[in-house]
């Protein structure tokens, strides 16, 4: 196994992350733009990937753009936006064949990096405005996406839980944006915002592949053009909407299966020393098919097909969730809470601890066999503003002991319980 080596160059206009790696036959170029989550800008940031994905000015029709990608040995471009803690990240990803595996070819990478640069800095714009036809069509695509959240009940319940739990906090903001804001948006407004974003967002560029570092740096340096930068005024610490007593929210829809989601505040984030212990805590509670939630909610009581838990590492949240029959609400809720209590009371065997640690390490190692997985793991450090390599994280996981796991339990607080249930179902209380 080869350890992941990352070399970071902090330049004036961007940070460059070089990851030479012999595992893969392709090269991955990922550009990440980071900004604080903000209701004012979120709808714009949700729409931008859909528009930029259509191609830069140089290739104004989809067909021309696809042909350019095909000529680059079928390079694949994707653009997306996501929430990480209180940040919004736009990611541009290009995967392209590594020319060293193609006889008589030496120009692919250079062109690929130029293409990424074009997609970001030379968009399809005329008269300071995105192309109207594309803008209007993609606006509808986003509208459909916003509306479709309600069709996916698991996602919907998760969104509603965060709405209630984090009301007034930045993290509450919906990553796909808001329909009422979308209605007001024009192609000119959007471009104006895009220009300011290009100046203000923090940019991190990752290049991963079987490449020489010096060559990579040279390529990026000559192709990647960010002219102006200006500092954004970062907002100060926000007030958290912590509850004195856990709140219970019950909503009804025409559903067959009820969704029960419980939100906890862990008060621990990625940068903290006890984060590895929190990860192990989550693993024993509900990260795997051998975890307490799965065993007790599903195997022992047959209340659900799925029952698990998940961490939001940068905001410090833990979510427990399950799909249950509406009439089983109280029973399932009590069993789920009992598992959390058992964790807090240190009701954990050495076997559970060591098996879970092995499973987490296995999961992290498998992530490091995927190019996108490597880059996402490395980027955690940028978000958390901490230096902790994936291998250090793995070592730290291996060192976690029972006391540390029980100790992190003390800082975990139940905040909100959310139930989406059928019209007739729900609470008898």
């Amino acid at each position: 196994m080869v350890t992941i080596k990352e070399e970071v160059k902090k330049l004036d206009s961007y940070n460059l992350h070089l990851i030479p790696n012999e595992k893969f036959k392709t090269v991955h170029i990922v550009v990440k733009l980071k900004a604080p989550l903000d209701r004012e800008t979120i709808t714009k940031r949700a729409l931008l990937p859909l528009i930029l994905q259509q191609g830069p000015r140089k290739y104004p029709t989809r067909k021309e753009f696809q042909i350019a990608l095909e000529n680059l040995y079928g390079a694949v471009l994707s653009i997306d936006g996501g929430k990480k803690g209180n940040n919004h990240i736009l990611s541009f990803r290009l995967e392209v064949a590594n020319e060293k595996f193609i006889p008589n070819e030496s120009d692919v990478l250079k062109q690929a990096i130029r293409l990424v640069n074009d997609v970001i800095f030379q968009p399809n714009v005329a008269n300071n405005c995105f192309d109207e036809t594309i803008f209007n069509r993609e606006k509808e695509t986003l509208r459909q996406k916003i509306r479709s959240v309600v069709d996916d009940k698991m996602r919907y319940a998760n969104m509603r839980l965060i709405d209630e739990m984090c009301e007034g906090e930045a993290y509450q903001i919906h990553v796909s944006g808001y329909e009422e804001d979308l209605d007001k948006l024009t192609a000119a407004d959007l471009y104006e915002y895009y220009r300011s974003l290009l100046k203000e967002d923090q940019i991190d560029i990752y290049i991963l592949g079987d490449l020489d570092k010096v060559y990579m740096e040279e390529l990026v340096g000559e192709s990647f053009q960010r002219d102006q930068i200006s500092q954004r005024t970062e907002s100060k610490d926000e007030q958290l909407n912590k509850k004195k007593e856990p709140q219970e929210i019950i909503e009804k829809q025409n559903v067959q299966q009820a969704k029960l989601h419980i939100g906890y505040r862990t008060n621990i984030t990625y940068k903290d020393d006890n984060y590895p212990a929190l990860q192990v805590f989550n693993g024993i509670l509900g990260g795997f098919p051998s975890s307490k939630l799965f065993i007790n909610v599903r195997e022992k009581n047959s209340l659900a097909y799925y029952a698990s838990s998940r961490l939001e590492s940068h905001k410090g949240l833990l979510f427990v969730f399950s799909g249950i029959a509406p009439e089983d609400y109280e029973k399932a809720r009590d069993i789920m809470r009992q598992q959390m209590d058992a964790m807090k009371n240190g009701d954990i065997t050495e076997e559970e601890l060591s098996e879970t640690k092995d499973l987490i390490v296995n999961q992290l190692l498998e992530t490091l066999d995927h190019p996108q997985g490597i880059i996402e793991m490395l980027y955690q450090q940028v978000i958390a503003e901490v230096e902790l390599s994936p291998h250090e994280l793995i070592e730290n996981i291996k060192k976690v002991n029972l006391e540390e796991v029980t100790e992190v339990g003390k800082s975990i607080e139940e905040d909100t319980i959310y139930l989406l249930t059928s019209e007739g179902g729900g609470s008898n209380e």
Binding site: M1, V2, N21, E22, K23, F24, K25, T26, R62, K63, Q66, I67, L69, E70, N71, L72, Y73, G74, A75, V76, E95, V96, A97, N98, F101, I102, P103, P289, S290, D358, L359, V361, N362, L365, E366, L368, D369, H370, P371
Partner: protein, 427 residues
């Protein structure tokens, strides 16, 4: 142990055919954390008529038996094999296709233990009447789940319309009626014939020591006894060139209708260079017309005939081949008419040198991308190996293709009698 070096992609593959007939491939990838192993038999749902090992008369077994067998192999007298893998930190799985059944695991630790578990559980069947009966209920539910899936119905409907005799027109899992006929003895008959090492391949890729891995596999195999196997006599009925049905309609609750146009690409056995040439061109040409850069895609998109559900897929196997072009549509008639018309127009079209160069590049890039994944390498390598093609040689083979090859292929690609339309719509 033979080794072969592929300089252009920097891979070295080790191969050995063991005394009992098993073909073993080792692909060391010491840079990876993970190891992936697959134990595959050249036996799938289409192998329903054959001469059982040690017998002389041909038999036809109930449909769905290959898939049934796959389920049952995980169950032993006292335990479930999935749990054995979990305890050893591995995740295991299996699948059955028209022509293959495969068992696999991936893990980052205890590799040798997991390899033994994989070899041993596949080579030590335990079927009892009681457990066979129990499985009928579970697989019955699985079949019903497929019955409710419009995309699967659309796929199978197209295949059924295209093929009249080749048993890929039968659902891989069989039907509730056919699986109810399966007995313990049927399972042993199929098992003993098709799970003979001579008919199987073991492929492992990832982080392990080549020498000790081969020793482990050999010792494991030497400790087991297998009868002698002459070549398995399987018989597939003769398939006509033209489609079984021009139209296939199926009613089920769907919010938007689904329509597909199927192309019967191949109906006879193909191997070696003949196979690989067809395999590559079939894929490159359909993608030339129907991917987002394609002329047909653009036309369909502009005329509002397709939306984001539009797709195409193409598959060539030893004994059959098909392509499917489909999507959701409110007007299946218009969808199928337009696509059929476009397909028929290709007989007189010519691909330019420049376009063909682009098509080759795209295919080479796709191959390199798929070689990042051990899972992909293993299953593709076995797929091509079955038809005597070396997966790792595909890039140079693509580079040697000429625009004349492509245009010759295009001239005869489509003919009316090899096209079918399948529509899935609400009552």
């Amino acid at each position: 142990m033979n080794s072969k070096e592929y300089k252009h992609i920097e891979e070295t593959l080790y191969e050995e055919k063991l005394d009992n007939g098993l073909t073993v491939f080792l692909l060391p990838r010491p840079q990876m954390s993970k190891t992936y192993a697959i134990f595959s038999t050249n036996y799938g749902s289409m192998d329903r008529t054959f001469v059982p090992i040690g017998q002389s008369e041909e038999v036809t077994v109930p449909d769905g038996i290959a898939h049934f067998l796959e389920h049952k192999l995980f169950e032993k007298k006292d335990r479930d094999v999935f749990a054995d893998f979990s305890k050893q930190g591995a995740s295991a799985n299996a699948y059955t296709s028209f022509s293959k059944t495969a068992y696999l695991f991936s893990a980052t630790s205890n590799i040798e233990e997991n390899v033994k578990t994989l070899l041993d559980f596949v080579q030590d069947p335990y079927f009892s009447e009681q457990s066979v009966e129990k499985e009928k209920g579970i697989i019955g539910q699985e079949i019903k789940m497929y019955d409710d899936q419009p995309d699967w119905q659309s796929f199978m409907g197209t295949v059924k319309a295209l093929f009249k005799e080749t048993p890929i027109n039968i659902d891989i899992a069989g039907t509730v009626e056919s699986i109810n006929k399966i007995t313990k003895d049927d399972l042993y008959t199929c098992y003993n014939t098709f799970y003979h090492p001579e008919n199987m391949t073991f492929f492992i890729a990832g982080n392990f020591n080549t020498e000790s891995m081969m020793t482990l596999i050999k010792e494991n195999q030497q400790a087991k006894e297998f009868p002698k196997l002459e070549e398995i006599q399987r018989s597939y009925p003769e398939e006509p060139k033209e489609v079984a049905k021009k139209q296939y309609k199926h009613k089920m609750p769907v919010s938007v209708a689904k329509c597909t146009v199927g192309i019967k690409e191949s109906y006879q056995e193909l191997n070696g260079s003949e196979f690989v040439q067809k395999d590559l061109l079939q894929d490159m040409i359909i993608s030339y017309f129907f991917s987002k850069s394609g002329q047909f895609y653009e036309e369909l998109y502009k005329e509002n005939i397709i939306d984001s559900s539009f797709y195409f897929e193409t598959n060539l196997d030893k004994n059959y081949g098909y392509s499917i072009i489909g999507g959701n549509t409110n007007n299946p008639e218009q969808f199928s008419t337009k696509i059929t018309e476009l397909l028929l127009s290709t007989n007189n079209m010519k691909i330019t040198e420049e376009e063909f160069e682009r098509m080759k590049r795209k295919r080479i890039g796709q191959l390199l991308r798929s070689m990042n994944s051990l899972e992909n390498i293993a299953s593709k390598f076995i797929h091509y190996h079955t038809v005597q093609v070396d997966y790792f040689d595909l890039i140079p083979i693509i580079q040697e293709l000429t625009v004349d090859d492509a245009n010759d292929y295009l001239k005869n690609w489509i003919s009316k009698e090899r096209l079918s339309v399948c529509t899935i719509s609400a009552e």
